[in-house]
């Protein structure tokens, strides 16, 4: 190019990970505060010790379960169910969501039915699933998949419908059709909504996991909850709740990381520093 001006070079932006230094400390303030209040409540004797054990007792309960080999298998059982249920539910939701979002005839065919199904509180399906599928893994996975399905589906459909028509036009003007148009324009354009759906779907999956395991299970965190209730062990119940919180937060963090990596291009408001 003519002229001696050297063009400005733009550095590719760095991905800022959510947990780092000060951020990590800041995110621990509230949990530590809760722990302190908890300990305070125990010291004040608000409830009896068996109803509200101190935090350290909960950790002791964890060690106890670990010693008799019940901690890891139960955690793994739950993680496995959530992974499978969420994976299957999301996969089906992505296929149906894309189809309904892209094609108005398909929307006409499936949209109303799916919306009606969504209106049914999903726990209402439990008796039917148990009746049809027995009390093994199948009804639990189906329930979790159902829980994950709707957030993914709904967000994806609305995401597809919010795509800027001008960008689709660019794709068409530059020769993209059918699959290439779907893959290169529609999917990335709808991806922010899909990511939101996947994260909401994961939260729902954990919710439905507990519901499924509370009903009938011989392993899993829901089983530990019931077991704790039946044996009057508040420490085990609290332990299960804390494990659920950690697992839910951890899996969501993984998804958030992936989302950030894939959405490096987006120029949306991320909150003030």
């Amino acid at each position: 190019m003519a002229g001696g001006q050297s063009p400005p070079r733009l550095a590719p932006p760095r991905v800022r990970l959510p947990v780092s230094g000060i951020g990590a400390i800041r995110s621990l303030i509230v949990p530590l505060l809760i722990l302190a209040l908890w300990q305070l409540a125990v010291n004040q004797g608000v409830y009896s010790r068996s109803q509200l054990p101190p935090p350290l007792d909960v950790i002791a309960a964890g060690r106890e379960l670990q010693d008799i080999g019940l901690l890891v298998p139960n955690v793994l059982a739950s993680v496995e169910r959530v992974s499978i249920g969420w994976g299957v539910g999301s996969a089906v939701a992505i296929i149906l969501g894309l189809a309904v979002g892209f094609s108005r005839p398909i929307e006409g065919l499936l949209g109303p039915t799916l919306n009606a199904l969504r209106a049914v509180p999903s726990l209402a399906w439990v008796p039917l699933f148990v009746l049809w599928l027995g009390i093994g893994e199948a009804p639990k996975l189906t329930l979790i998949a159902l829980g994950a399905f709707f957030p993914v589906y709904t967000n994806l459909v609305s995401g597809v419908r919010q795509i800027d028509r001008k960008l689709i036009e660019v794709g068409r003007a530059y020769g993209l059709r059918g699959w290439s148009l779907t893959w290169e324009i529609l999917v990335p354009a709808a991806f922010p909504s899909l990511a939101t759906g996947l994260r909401l779907g994961l939260a729902q999956a954990w919710l439905f996991l507990v519901a499924a395991e509370l009903i009938a299970a011989s392993r899993g965190l829901g089983f530990l909850l019931i077991d704790g209730q039946n044996s009057g062990r508040a420490d085990i119940i609290l332990l299960s709740i804390m494990l659920l919180a950690l697992l839910g937060k951890g899996t969501d963090w993984l998804l958030a990381r992936g989302e950030r990596r894939l959405l490096r291009w987006s120029d949306t408001f991320r909150g003030t520093a």
Binding site: M1, A2, G3, Q5, P7, P8, R9, L10, A11, P12, P13, K166, L167, E169, V170, G171, R172, A173, Y174, G175, L176, E184, I185, P188, A189, F191, R264, W265, S266, D267
Partner: protein
């Protein structure tokens, strides 16, 4: 290689909420292969609409558009369009955006080489949101140029550029088209730019709009032509 563009009796009526808005009526324009035609017209008169029709992004209500003797029915692969806004795909980096234009072009320049030509060397990996308006518009130009289209459609491509870059991009455009290997339709507001670049200047005017005047630039004194064209706009503006 360049193809002729033939626009005959083209009309476009937009219909919305019960009302019919005729934007173009009886537009006739013939561009020979390799010709550079500038389209001038007041804001909102239908210039972008006309280019979209030629690109096949929209279809005329009446009349016919042909490229190289073949009627345009759908997005035409022989065209490359620079839109009035840059319209970069936000999820593709700059090089990938340019590569979209090179899709299916056998001997296309590399995105890096093309970006260097528009003065954006070294920015291949930047995301569109990091660019200024003028930089983004130049990426849009690069995306169209790599395509080596038979018909190049430019919708006010230099509007977001500063005066200096504008001249540079104009030179690049002229250089790219000097060998007459592409037919160009350039929509612009800038009479001087049209005079400098085009073989022929057509004015789009009226409501609904049609071609209201045509001027060949070759062999004419630019300043007289300029005065005449500006005069026509002046009259239009006052009326």
């Amino acid at each position: 290689m360049a193809e002729a563009v033939s626009i005959r009796g083209v009309a476009r009526v937009f219909s919305g909420q019960g009302s019919q808005v005729p934007v173009l009526r009886g537009v006739d324009l013939e561009a020979t292969p390799g010709e550079f035609v500038a389209v001038l017209g007041a804001s909102g008169c239908g210039k972008s609409t006309l280019l979209r029709l030629v690109a096949g992004l929209d279809s005329p209500t009446a009349g016919e558009i042909k490229i190289g003797g073949r009627t345009v029915i759908d997005c035409d692969p022989r065209c490359a369009m620079v839109f009035q806004e840059p319209r970069l795909l936000p999820w593709k980096n700059i090089a990938q955006n340019v590569a979209l234009g090179a899709r299916g072009v056998p001997d296309a320049e590399t995105p890096a080489a093309m970006l260097e030509r528009v003065g954006l060397a070294g920015n291949e990996r930047a995301w569109p949101y990091q660019l200024s308006g003028g930089m983004a518009q130049r990426v849009g130009l690069a995306r169209a140029f790599v395509r080596k289209p038979a018909v190049l459609l430019l919708d006010e491509p230099f509007a977001a550029l500063d005066a200096f870059t504008r001249l540079q991009m104009g030179d690049l455009l002229r250089e790219t088209c000097r060998d007459r290997s592409r037919t160009v339709l350039l929509v612009t507001h800038d009479v001087d730019e049209a005079l400098r670049l085009a073989d022929r200047i057509v004015l789009l005017g009226g409501k609904p709009a049609s071609i209201s005047a045509e001027y060949a630039t070759a062999g004419h004194d630019p300043s007289r032509l300029r005065a005449e064209i500006l005069g026509r706009f002046g009259l239009k503006e006052v009326a």
